[in-house]
Amino acid sequence: MDQKQARQLRKILIAAAVFLLLIVPDTLQTFPFAGKTGRFAPALYLIPYLLCGLPVIRKALLGIRNRQVFDESFLMMLATFGAVVTGEYSEAVAVMLFYQVGEWFQDYAVGRSRRSISGLLELVPESASIERADGSVELADPDDVAVGDVLVIKPGERVPVDGVVLTGESMLNTAALTGESVPRHVREGEQILSGCINGEGLLRIRAEKAFEDSTVSRILELVETASEKKSKTETFITRFARVYTPAVVLAAVLLALIPSLVTGDWGTWVYRACEFLVISCPCALVISVPLAFFGGIGAASAAGVLVKGSNYLELLARLDTVVSDKTGTLTEGSFRVSEVCPAEGISRTELLRKAALAEGLSTHPIAVSIRERLNEELPDTALNMKLVTDVDDIPGQGLAATVEGRMVCVGNDRLMQAQGVECPAVTDEAATVCRVAENGVYLGTILIRDRVKPGARQVLAELREAGVRRIVMLTGDSRSVGEAVGRELGVDEVCAQLLPQDKVARVEALLAGLAEGGRLAFLGDGINDAPVLTRADVGVAMGSMGSDAAIEAADVVIMDDDLKKLPAVIRIARRTVRIARQNIAFALTVKLAILALSALGLAGMWTAVFADVGVAVLCILNSMRLLRRRNGAKADRI
């Protein structure tokens, strides 16, 4: 509660107290002079009325002066004046009082949800310590940091701008950016992003970006503008409100005139028309939808997913097809030895050592992965390259090298056939097969493959649970590798051997084949797939923190490379849309029902006030469920 709210609350409470003081004796009829018919009633009820209603009347008058008549202040003024004219003083005060209570509550609720979102975004570093050439450290505004400046980041401080670590080593808390609670280890030469909190170590970094281009500023900008991209539901409801209010006001005028002229009973009908005016306020409708979406965006960013507009939440909720890139998205994107199968009588390490020596110090992924595996099995092995002479590269097959005087061949089946070496069959189709033979004798097979991300299968299952009917994997890899990975993951369709431009065509074909109302999302790592990200209904980039191109092209950005966040954000989207719909349905039903009851004289002014502020408050509370789930959203992160 801020100062303004506290002041407003005080006013309302005083007005309410005065009102009670008047209404209790009035109902008990102890002091008839203050009652409905009493001479002092208008003057007495004017006190609480003005106490809480003055700002409303001021606003209404200002609205009239600015020719923006149909706002709620005006309607409230008209309704309460109407009540006074018909002699219902206490009702006039009650309506104004309730209206103000509702407004206050609305303000408080919006403020709270706003704070809980900016809470997640309190990433903004307050200062930066710039190290000058002479070694002195100067405290400056992050805005004043220039690219190339050397910054000192003390333990517990926030990283002010994106940069590269010059010296030092530390654990960085990236939770504010990624929602990931495990700190990340950084050392010399590594990139660090603004908004992270430094752990125990002292870091010196070189600024790579100015503050306004750094990750923190970009994220803030994105989330701030996200609520400006309006969802269809919101546009609909704003448009609806524009028709609804004048329509109800017109109905009120007709209700006040026609039956009165017929029956001659002006009091009853003017009073009922005033009820119409109270109900005609569109605020419940207008606030409920954007607030739900705002909550959804907040809940998503708490989980480390940036949704760049309310409209994307709406699209995510209707997702039918998910198209995903393979390498780096569903798989880890790095090659690793998956299996070492030595021939009989040969040890695993011997096989690896021979292969590693023959491959030499090459940076080819196969050579690197074999060296890595050897290091895992026999830590601190240094390869003595003096043992290797005469390396012969055989294009498309592998290589032959003389190791310790013997000819070692490392390569595929074709190389083995050429050498006349017989090899056992391999069952893993997704793997790259690397055979090793020495002097024409088979030593064994090393299988190298890109690993499926742990949990990827589970994530795809969760996507289906969240309503996705079809999952398609795109890859530039060969058909056999693609299909094997596809089977392992359980995708519905694999499109292999695609060039980057083919991916766009593929996604377009899938878009054309979508069921009515279904939507397609493309999931990629943001590298080289910007055109596809843009083309899909929803482009989801993951693991792209710090990659400007990806953040630019994508509609939804998963800050780290945790696949589980995709089903989580879809669940959030569905919940958001559901809540927005509930709000609309609830608000409309109640309003229409009470309109009907008022016209028949079955509802009093109190019910009308409920139809206005009561409904607004209930809608707000409903929307806030999304934010309250924020803590529960941890379950979504798993």
Partner: protein
């Protein structure tokens, strides 16, 4: 020049109205009043920015008396 300010605005509807009015001012290229984030963004001619800003605040206050901008 484009500048962002913290602002105080009470309701979504008023934010839209204020935004509309400021956009209509002479010299304003673009204006945004973000109710949810309570941010006011003004894009206006460089040389007259300060005076346009003052006009914008005045125009906003006229529509919504509680509109204020932290400078």
């Amino acid at each position: 020049m484009k500048k962002k300010f913290k602002c105080d605005i009470d309701c979504a509807n008023c934010a839209a109205k204020v935004e509309e009015a400021i956009r209509r001012l002479d010299g304003v290229q673009d204006a945004k009043v973000n109710f949810m984030m309570q941010k006011f963004t003004l894009e206006a001619d460089d040389d007259r920015f300060e005076s346009i800003l003052q006009q914008a605040i005045a125009a906003g206050k006229k529509i919504e008396p509680d509109f204020s901008v932290e400078l």
